[in-house]
Amino acid sequence: MAKELIMDIKDFSFKYAGAPKPSLMNINLPVYKNKITAMIGPSGCGKSTLLRSINRIHDLYPNNEYTGEINLLNIQKNEFENILDIKKENEFIKLRQRVGMIFQKPTPFPMSIYDNVAYGLRLSGLKDKNILDEKVEKALKGAAIWDETKDRLKESAMGMSGGQQQRLCIARAVALKPEVILFDEPTSALDPISTKAIEELISELKEFVSIVIVTHNMQQASRLSDFTAFMYIGELIEYNKTDKIFLNPKEKLTEDYITGRFG
């Protein structure tokens, strides 16, 4: 295949601590570089669980069980590394700098717009004021929110509109120059105009990063993504190029879902 992989999920299964049965079973999913991969499926099918495995944020909570591989391309070494092997705190931190995450509800920190964007940069050890200024500006431009914020960088981020806050969160992630950004239903709490702005932004971002987006909005998946994975009760039912999934699904279940017969 000519396209380059950035990530390759193999036989991945996941069970929450204390849950009677696994929430994900034998997931196999490739993620291509500089493409948008969408995950669709009815509520509770495991989309967020899979997404949250990719930056190991599940590890905030103890005793979850998982097996399989999530291989992430190490660009310098040009080889894949299984992120499920990570055990040390500093490796977790590195992973999360490489794999950013945007949540369903905007999550601005209770600090200034500038400090929000600088937060991850400072955590990564950057202290030089000039470089910080430069990177914050670049990230805000990258998230198409510079014009709205350049005169109020010192103001609290809590005073922004929901759509602006979500773009600020994207800027915050972009500032770290991640290789992958994970979006978990990033527009489901937003109005249509903000949704459109975020969708345009995500399309532009793929020039620099690879994107995995969870959405239960089928129009959004078909408008935005290059590849689509359809999930159902913990299993990946079908994965293909987005137009194939939507125009010519192979599985009956996929067809029923995208034609709105259940959901």
Partner: protein
């Protein structure tokens, strides 16, 4: 039909109970205000108890409450942060229950405890012992408010910090505490208001002192303990002084509470 009847009766009874409570409260407050305003004059604030004023008592009460806050707030906050952010398993809930019991422990018991473990070994009543007794009262309140206020911070905010490469303690310090700041400040203020009016924990720990002193190793002036003493004195002068002191104390607690409520209302 029967349920409606019971409903009405219960409503009637509870309204009645509320009215009785409010009547007594209004009675206490009006008496206090009438007697207090009569007894108040400027020299109360410029003279010490030995010269018929309240200056050293107000100062002493405030200093002991402040020292208690300085000791108790960091300890209480650390414990609250531990319970909400780090603690795992059933024993966290056991600690929460124990803390609730501590919060409702009779203050005279705390006073007796400090008498035994601090006053007796140190050879006499002193300001430190009073401060420690007040701190013991304050800590469970701060633990509980910290725990509750941190529980209001959305999980996603913590996860967002972690997702940007933060470590757990960085996220707690930089983000969670900041997000809960208003609630925490209000909690501390209300806890302070709660301890500043206490008598029982001070009665045989700090005692009180008629003279001006800033030395916490001495018996330390206390407004509340002196109110208790003065009210038992047979002269009108002493009783008036007790009324004035009670009035000042009530107003102070009222103002701190109002400020606390105002802050929370402002920021939600």
């Amino acid at each position: 039909m029967k349920r409606l009847m019971i409903n009405k009766i219960v409503l009637l009874l509870s309204t009645f109970a509320a009215i009785i409570g409010l009547v007594f409260l209004a009675w206490i407050l009006t008496t206090l205000f009438l007697k207090g305003i009569d007894a108040i004059n400027w020299t109360l604030f410029t003279k010490d108890l030995i010269d018929g004023g309240l200056r050293n008592l107000i100062f002493g009460q405030f200093v002991m409450a402040l020292v208690a806050t300085i000791i108790g707030v960091p300890l209480g906050m650390l414990a609250g942060i531990y319970l909400r952010e780090y603690g795992r398993g059933v024993y966290v809930n056991i600690i929460r229950d124990l803390n609730d019991i501590m919060m409702s422990a009779p203050s005279i018991v705390i006073g007796s405890f400090v008498f035994v473990v601090v006053v007796v070994p140190s050879g006499g009543i002193n300001g430190w012992a009073g401060s420690i007794a007040l701190a013991i009262m304050l800590i469970p309140i701060v633990v509980s408010t910290t725990d509750n206020m941190l529980s209001l911070v959305p999980t996603e905010l913590r996860e967002a910090g972690i997702a940007l490469g933060g470590s757990k303690h960085k996220v707690v310090l930089d983000i969670v505490l900041k997000a809960a700041k208003v609630g925490l400040m209000t909690g501390i203020l209300l806890a302070f208001a709660r301890i500043i009016g206490e008598t029982a924990p001070l009665l045989f720990t700090s005692g009180t002192n008629s003279f001006w002193t800033t030395n916490l190793n001495n018996a330390f002036p206390s407004l509340t303990v002196s109110i208790y003493d003065l009210a038992n004195f047979p002269t009108d002068k002493a009783r008036n002084l007790a009324w004035a002191a009670s009035f000042i104390l009530t107003i102070t607690v009222l103002i701190i509470n109002l400020v606390g409520r105002f802050i929370t209302r402002d920021k939600g």
